[in-house]
């Protein structure tokens, strides 16, 4: 039963990936005019344009272009950057780990704040503490992340001088400095995410705490802590995980902005620069990888479901 459930999810994933690849590929052809001309800009000579068209295979049929692109992509060959004179895959190999690290720290921060806060709120529903937490969460969702980033830079980096203003140091170079550089970006990226996770887990925990099986646990004399953290929390986590999964997409797009604010050379920066300079192979490659990560994160969430809730994917 569960194998079939996971297989269905896997097929769906393949389908989504296929659709996304069509979209990403189509994007290049939706831009009005000649992509080669657009890439080279007003300074491109007709000869250069013709050469680029040849190099990008733009003279082939659209179907051929797509199949060429996708078969190469599957083998890890995403073409060459037009501007940077480097293969797209080697560019991604440099930039992706940075973005992944940033997203990972943001996720850790978000969970670290949201889950305990949601427990406090749910068990003290409508108390001052609960109201305070909810208000903070509301602000967290509403506040634009670049603004939050700037405020954090002003406070911690400029005023207090305890953290670096921007830039990036790799983990291998200097782990401590790496973390110091990641603190503010991770908080900036994770704040809104955290607020969403908090809200979801709070309401689902409140709902779960009213269920009959919680009453059974209390009636059996199970200590309140165990009831809360084992019996209630696991059930509450099911809808929360959905939010965590869906919002991973948000995290990836949010990283774009945060990397710009903190001058982090991640994939977001690569993508933004790629778009600005019309480096289409880079844009396509970066988007494809983003979709890939998003889709597999969701697949992982689906698998996590089946671990947390035995009912999912099984016959009732």
């Amino acid at each position: 039963m569960r194998a079939r459930f996971l297989l269905a999810k896997l097929l769906w994933t393949v389908f989504v990936l296929f659709g996304s690849s069509l979209l990403i590929f189509g994007l290049m052809h939706l831009v009005p005019g000649d992509p080669a001309r657009a890439m080279l800009g007003p300074l491109g000579t007709p000869d250069a344009v013709a050469a680029l068209r040849e190099k990008l295979g733009l003279n082939d049929s659209v179907l051929k272009q797509y199949t060429t692109w996708i078969t190469h992509a599957v083998r890890g060959d995403l073409g060459e950057s037009i501007l940077l004179n480097q293969s797209v895959s080697s560019l991604l190999a440099q930039r992706l780990p940075i973005t992944l690290a940033l997203s990972f720290y943001a996720l850790i921060f978000a969970l670290f704040v949201a889950l305990p806060a949601s427990v406090i709120s749910a068990t003290r529903k409508n108390s001052l503490l609960d109201y305070g937490a909810r208000l903070t969460a509301l602000i967290g969702v509403a506040m634009p992340s670049f603004w939050l980033g700037l405020m954090l830079i002003l406070l911690f980096a400029v005023k207090l001088g305890v953290l670096p203003v921007f830039g990036y140091v790799s983990l291998r170079e200097d782990p401590v400095d790496h973390l110091r550089h990641m603190v503010l970006p991770a908080i900036t990226l994770g704040a809104a995410y955290s607020a969403l996770i908090y809200e979801m887990n709070r309401s689902s925990l409140i709902e779960v705490l009213q269920q009959d099986y919680i009453r059974t646990a209390h009636a059996s004399g199970i200590p309140s802590r165990l009831v809360l953290f084992k019996y209630a929390f696991r059930n509450a986590l099911v809808p929360t995980i959905t939010v965590i999964g869906i919002q991973i997409g948000y995290l990836m797009s949010g990283a774009l902005l945060v990397e710009a604010v903190f001058a982090i050379p991640g994939m977001g920066r690569l993508l933004v620069n790629g778009v600005l300079s019309r480096d289409y192979p880079v844009v396509q490659g970066a988007m494809l990888v983003t979709v890939l990560i998003f889709v597999f994160a969701n697949l992982a969430v689906d698998m996590l479901y089946t671990v947390i809730d035995p009912r999912i994917g099984r016959k009732r």
Partner: protein, 360 residues
């Protein structure tokens, strides 16, 4: 056993006097503050249960049975509180105990089973984990011993494949099976008292009968005392020694079950009997009691059943009838308890139709 007797035990009269008192509730008042006022869901309930005894707590839905049980166990949902009264268990006043002490009693000395076996088990943990946690909470058994005990308990409540059921999740089990699992959980630590709140209401008839047989077995073989909460007087006949009839937060009648069946003394009890299919005289259609339980906010003086009582008199609307002795171990709260000749299912005019005490 004798040393556990409550000092209040002497007050209690009746045939069961020589047995040890296990539970004794005096003047219990349970209140729930709401926007429209304070709901007095339980208002001055006295209740005694002896060791080895099965006592029924009967009444329509909403009359305060469940909240009485929750008050005893310290399980009242917020913002409900016990506002007054004493709850003696084995001679000790539970209301004087700490929250922690009362938690340790639940599941260990007093077990409880609920109406909805479907939702009363945690959906994401196996039966083994859930019963195991009760054992882990109250005993020092190691994990192998716990596993064995869980299987043993499941066998004890009549589950034929206990090993398999132990590893199952609740959604993999039928309703009757889940109720058995809940019973196994409730008796895991061999409690002296089992509170069963409508244990069969959500089950179909065959399964109902099986669960009742199981409860009977627990009483006879394990010596468990049971407080059986139900709206169904037919169930009470099968299992109970004595019955308390509740109406609108108060006890209106208390009697040994045979006495109640031969001659109920309160019009409400009689009306409840009329609601049981097969119990009412054959020339009358199946009755439902007219009207509904009054709101339990700012209750006026007088008999709470007055608006629905066929025998109501002027006096009933001004004077609250006290719960008084009307026979050996038989009490009723009606001004006319002595004079009214109320039909019960086992009274003589019905004897032809129902030769024996009603069988479930």
């Amino acid at each position: 056993m004798m040393s556990n007797l409550s000092p209040l035990q002497q007050i209690n009269s009746g045939a069961t006097r020589e047995m040890g008192q296990l539970l004794e509730v005096r003047g219990l008042r349970t209140e729930i503050p709401t926007r429209r006022g304070v709901v007095r869901a339980v208002d001055g309930v006295d209740l005694v249960l002896h060791e080895g005894e099965v006592v029924g707590l009967v009444g329509e839905s909403g009359c305060g049975k469940t909240l009485t049980a929750y008050s005893i166990l310290d399980l009242l949902p917020k913002p409900g509180v016990v506002a007054a009264g004493e709850i003696h268990f084995r001679g000790e006043d539970l209301r004087r105990k700490s929250t922690e002490e009362r938690r340790a009693i639940r599941g260990n000395d007093i077990g409880m089973i609920f109406q909805e076996p479907l939702s009363a088990l945690n959906p994401v943990f196996t039966v083994e984990t859930q019963i195991g946690d009760v054992l882990r909470t109250h005993t020092n058994l190691d994990s192998t011993a716990i596993k064995e005990r869980v299987v043993e308990l499941l066998g004890h409540v009549g589950i034929s494949a206990p090993e398999r059921v132990a590893r199952s999740y609740p959604f993999e089990l039928s309703g009757g099976m889940r109720q058995r699992v809940l019973i196994a959980m409730a008796i895991a630590c061999r409690p002296a008292l089992l509170i069963a709140d409508e244990p069969t209401t959500a089950l179909d008839a065959t399964i109902q009968a099986q669960i009742m047989v199981l409860l009977q077995t627990l009483v006879e073989e394990d010596g468990v005392s049971i407080l059986l909460i139900t709206h169904d007087l037919a169930l009470v006949a099968e299992l109970c020694d004595r019955v308390y009839v509740m109406y609108a937060g108060t006890v209106v009648e208390m009697a040994p079950v045979e006495d109640l069946y031969v001659r109920p003394r309160h019009p409400y009890t009689s009306a409840l009997f009329q609601c049981i299919p097969g119990f009412q005289p054959s020339d009358r259609p199946l009755a439902a009691i007219e009207g509904s339980v009054p709101m339990l906010i700012d209750i006026p003086p007088g008999c709470r059943f007055a608006d629905r009582c066929p025998y109501v008199a002027d006096r009933c609307r001004t004077e609250t009838p006290p719960l008084v002795d009307v026979g050996a171990g038989h009490r009723a709260a009606c001004h006319f308890a002595d004079s009214l000749d109320l039909p019960g299912p086992a009274s003589e005019q019905l004897e032809q139709d129902h030769a024996s005490a009603p069988v479930y």
